[in-house]
Symmetry: D2
Subunit: 418 residues, 4 copies
């Protein structure tokens, strides 16, 4: 059966397709000779459903879109402290190839500018790693994110390296400040390989959905990254992802994003989606003209703006039933802070008919930290008012069963027969 | 009955209370003489539930926390185009009292630095407005946000004005560039009054919840602002709200925020909460030391980070029932993009037992634009596969009943008797 | 008789006159309505000879050309240490009305930008002075420099003040940093009066010649300033006098200079000349178009470039005569380092015919510190080789007669009869 | 016989010697291991007299002091236009190893920062030149300036290159902007060789004196550079020679200067002197501590400040004689603008006794452009008043004998018999 979401993607490409302004990156033959009219997009939900349209099978090099993923890998591989010593988190307000070192520490301002990305690349697998081992680890990680074996375009990689004066300049400067230790040649060669990994929009959408999904690859189910790393990476995408003009992009589009010179743009909506577009013609800032158009439309039409103020969550209380002996509170949906707060708001003031209360979590899909904590606190409050409360949690959604005073809540293995 | 959320707030204040570092603002006697140990906080949900703890009745002047609200009022009163001609949206990377004009337009960089805030103040009620009329409108708007009559601390206002050299400097410079037209004296006097509005943390939490709730004051139900303005204001709070170091705040805390020199901090979580803290001792950047601590804890403990990647939404399909003649698809919860997508993902592939299908929206609390659109497209898809579909929408949650081809979906007035 | 120098000035005006590009300052009516075709120039030698051509009697307000003179007055009135605490000496590379405060001290970068000039004005006559007393002292000083009573154009002064937003902005900022103490209103009013002093090019040329002449007004002979202050003022004119582009002006023209918005330019050649031009049309930097042209021509044609590498000085040894008993060394010209060094180079190796040697300084016009010192050291060297040396110094040109060992050289009252 | 000037140099070294603060450059072993207590200085007059004291034979690598000379060579070899396209003349206000490219042109700000110096080096002998040919030309030019064969310290050159990351960074960036065309490796290798030329303070003083002398090496008499190039080079030394703090150096010392990391400082006084000091310990800006002290003392004690306002020149009229038939005006000294003006000022108003006038230039040592022109104009003025004027110029000091109207003045071959 036809899926309306896919139709919707097609319509959005149709909106963007007439715009043939901009021009392809011209500094190497491979990008200069890209088919300019290519246009594709894909989205992947955190449940792993992929929708795509247009030239969704076209392979292109990932380029700068590798930066947030490498930042994630460095955080995973080396830890927050080491990474923070090497690169900052502030927007630079400058072009991607500016040096932008912080005055006191000489750290590159953030991992989304080239200086920062080269420094981050050198962290991966340890600074003593050979380039080969480092690239092998990178490829393995990126393949885990994509859910398939990715490859490097070695021909394009060679072209990139032949014209890599700016990156070599940055690498020498980083070396002179002691931020990287390998030779400038090897550091840039390693970075250029990271940029030459081949993907299509479906790959990128899945990879983005993994960030949006707290690090669980939504199709393979593999926990590739920890949730806090995904949070950190997407924070930097918001503040520094779209070069200068980060404030305007946040104001207009409001989707954490990263673009690449080959024409790709990756976006994520935390807890919701990965989004990817591809079209080679770039605007003066180096962002894909039609890709930006698609993201603007997506944000405007669909309300997919990070600051979208329409409420979500809610309706955690499915129903309250009683068999004369036991009151059962049936909870449903996702139990986050808002949902749990609302649940207690509705339950606590009521006169419940029996002293024995079962909180039934059968229909709860997931519980966040905040939701779990507030629910436990609410159970304690019920008990303090004289009730005898137990929880039925067949899917183990609660993060903990232990109260702050160290005692456990009562867990039951089945519901009262209805 | 004791509310666990309130307990939670008390615990957070206990975490922050021992930190007595920092010092009160010293440039006017009223702030210099504030009781340094005061500490209070409040949160307000988009459903209008307020929780507070500590010195939650203590009144203080709103100071720079007025800036996002005045930006909202200017957007409401004068429209996006006029406001964008006057002030930009980029982080300035500089202290709040820097001039930070954009090179080409002479616009102040953003409305969160003083130069931008003075320019925004002058837009309100038109540039020809008297200061009295402008302040009256401001007070009315702020009172609407708070849900009660707010007042100005005229004594403090006089003190502020007596030492207002930096703001007078900014105002004269803005005048010299033609960005404001009133005298520097009157522009600063008007701005200082806006800063001297008296609030407590409960007021601020409600005002923030109004932004988080798409402009609907959650206790009075009044639509004070349009949703897009709330989105825009919170976007600027993210990129420019916490002075320099915006990237680090987003990385660490991830809550749109604005602080004031009297010791307040306002935070919002779009679609969820308004949050306010108050404690007079400030760090070197001018942010309340204990307020920052509370926000960090809130973000860490409760996962209330904008980039929190734990998923939300979901479980839109409550159940599918059939009476032999009609299949009823019972939908529930909030119908956003993710929820609607998931609903169709579950429904479309099934072999439904009857040709007559009713989509029951009784249990749907709200539907976003994206959710409404995808649902309608899904209904069309069902019809194209041979079904006869109607919708039961007793609470009028759908944004539209009109398909893209101009035809309406069928609406029924009641469900089949079960 | 016709003076060739005056003819030369006329020729230079003829070179510049056809250039009618640029436009008058437009921010106040008095400047906007100036006769645009006016063109005049004057030079004054350190001997007090004035040459002028064109509209040399036209009065105009001195504007920013007052800045170097006020810096001189502040140095004279308050001393180097106080002035250096208040304002720096580095080029700002920015427009004249930028704030340009140094990061650590909040001092304005230099006294040639408005922020620095306002701060310098406030130093004069002490920070407790009334504006009236300060202006009276300023007028007295400027009149001493010009050699006649100068007056203030009070009408223009009022106009300037009415549109003084930028200067008021700077004054408020300086106040906020504690660099000035008077109200912003009074500080700017005092500064505007300083700028409204009426001069013509002949006045300016004489005032500049006073700087070039080590502070001695060359026509009245009055020592208005100490030599070191003149050296300091002209140093700052070189590094910061011509707004941004100081390096290019030094490269091309090489004359310490300061321009004003009414169309004047003042130049000085230390030890040689004061130069002034006047023509109201300004280029985009605010410098008189035809004035700049004249200075370029003057530098190119006449070699009047500070770095002109053609040698000067020399020929200090007029002749050596002997009457059989006494050898007389006849010295002439200006005795600077080079001249004295050359004198000794020629005298010391010679076998002089008698033991008694008289150094005749009758024809020596002036002796610098370095020249005096080297001459005394040379006399000592002659004595150490066995000669009996005395000096005839009828005009008292030597700075000292005391050797480093504390003994005096022998002075004779007349020369041997020839 | 003992020369007092040399004694004076010894005294100045004694003043600076006790200061043992600062530390040697540490980035390569050769500089790190320099004998820290070395201290020497030399001056050379434009007449070629050299005075030196202390460790005046100690050889050290010229380092950044090569920059002004290479700028001169590029101007000589490639012309002003080509050089100006490649590098600017504005102070950068930044450290020597900053990139400091101008925003619009990508030119390095000036030739005294490393980026500018590398670009200048690449201009020499044409951009197609081999490094070997370029270095051969550089060594030939530097040897011409020094008056002896200079050599490169190849060992130190290798050390420099091994740690040349910053310079390689600059070279790659210059390449990426198309400002240099050779490989970064070769460009930096060529630059490092230029910096590794071995000199002592006597060499440097002579090289500086050549700049001060309008390009004529004062000991060999060879015209190595044109006067205008010397003027341009010394202009850039003033505005950008002493890193950041150029304004302060000009204010305090007032001598065009350039320092090098091995401990040398070169100064020039146009038309007077070359000055060089050497002492390895550097201050935080990278300037020799004791060298700076010597220059300060030299400027203060001897009045050798560019803005020294004590007058020079003068006394051009030696005497006026008459034999009854002919009046002879005996001119003497250096005929610059001031001297010629003063001459005419004394001669023109007089009633000369005869119609036949001879201007005797026998005792004129040199005539500047301005002096020659004014003298010719004066002769024309005398003729217009009825005299019959001729010139006796046995040493050919006049720059021209042609008047502005194209006619020549009369030249006579001998003076009237006295």
């Amino acid at each position: 059966m036809r899926t309306p979401v896919q139709d919707y993607l097609k319509k959005m490409l149709d909106v963007a397709r007439p715009n043939i302004s901009g021009s392809r990156a011209s500094y190497i033959p491979e990008l200069r000779d890209a088919t300019p009219d290519l246009l594709g997009m894909a989205i992947c939900t955190i449940d792993g459903n992929i929708y795509s349209a247009g030239d969704d099978q076209e392979m292109f090099t990932i380029q700068s879109i590798s930066k947030p993923f490498m930042y994630a890998l460095a955080l995973k591989d080396r830890g927050l402290d080491t990474v923070m010593e090497t690169v900052g988190t502030e927007p630079s307000g400058e072009d991607f190839n500016e040096l932008s070192l912080e005055g006191d520490t000489n750290r590159p301002m953030n991992p989304m500018i080239n200086a920062g990305a080269i420094a981050v690349n050198q962290l991966i697998n340890g600074e003593e790693s050979t380039t080969e081992d480092r690239i092998a680890l990178i490829l393995e990680f990126m393949s885990d994110l994509a859910g398939r074996e990715l490859e490097i375009d070695h021909g394009l990689c060679e072209s990139e390296f032949a014209g890599a004066d700016r990156n070599l300049s940055l690498a020498h400067m980083l070396r002179s400040y002691g931020i990287i230790k390998d030779t400038a040649h090897d550091a840039v060669f390693s970075y250029v390989q990271q940029c030459s990994i081949l993907v299509n929009v479906r790959d990128l959408a899945v990879m983005g959905a993994t960030l949006a999904n707290g690090g669980v690859q939504p199709r393979t189910g593999k926990q590739v990254l920890k949730p806090e790393i995904c949070r950190q990476v997407q924070s930097v995408m918001v503040s520094a992802g779209m070069y200068n003009g980060a404030g305007q992009w946040l104001f207009d589009v409001g989707i954490p994003a990263k673009s690449g010179v080959s024409g790709g743009i990756l976006g994520t909506l935390p807890g919701q989606l990965g989004i990817a577009t591809f079209s080679p013609r770039l605007d003066s800032k180096g962002n894909s003209v039609r890709g930006v158009r698609v993201f603007e439309q997506l944000s405007k039409d669909m309300g997919l703006h990070l600051m979208a103020t329409e409420p979500f969550g809610g309706d955690a209380l499915r129903e309250i039933t009683s068999d004369g002996y036991t009151t059962t509170i049936h909870v449903q949906g996702t139990l986050n802070f808002s949902a749990a707060e609302e649940l207690l708001w509705e339950v606590l003031p009521r006169e419940l008919p029996n002293e024995r209360i079962i909180v039934d979590l059968t229909e709860v899909r997931r519980a966040r930290v905040a939701g779990s904590r507030i629910l436990l606190d609410g159970i304690t409050a019920l008990e303090e008012s004289g009730a005898d409360v137990a929880v039925y949690d067949p899917h183990f959604v609660l993060k903990t069963h232990e109260r702050e005073d160290g005692t456990d809540i009562e867990i039951v293995d089945n519901l009262p027969v209805r």
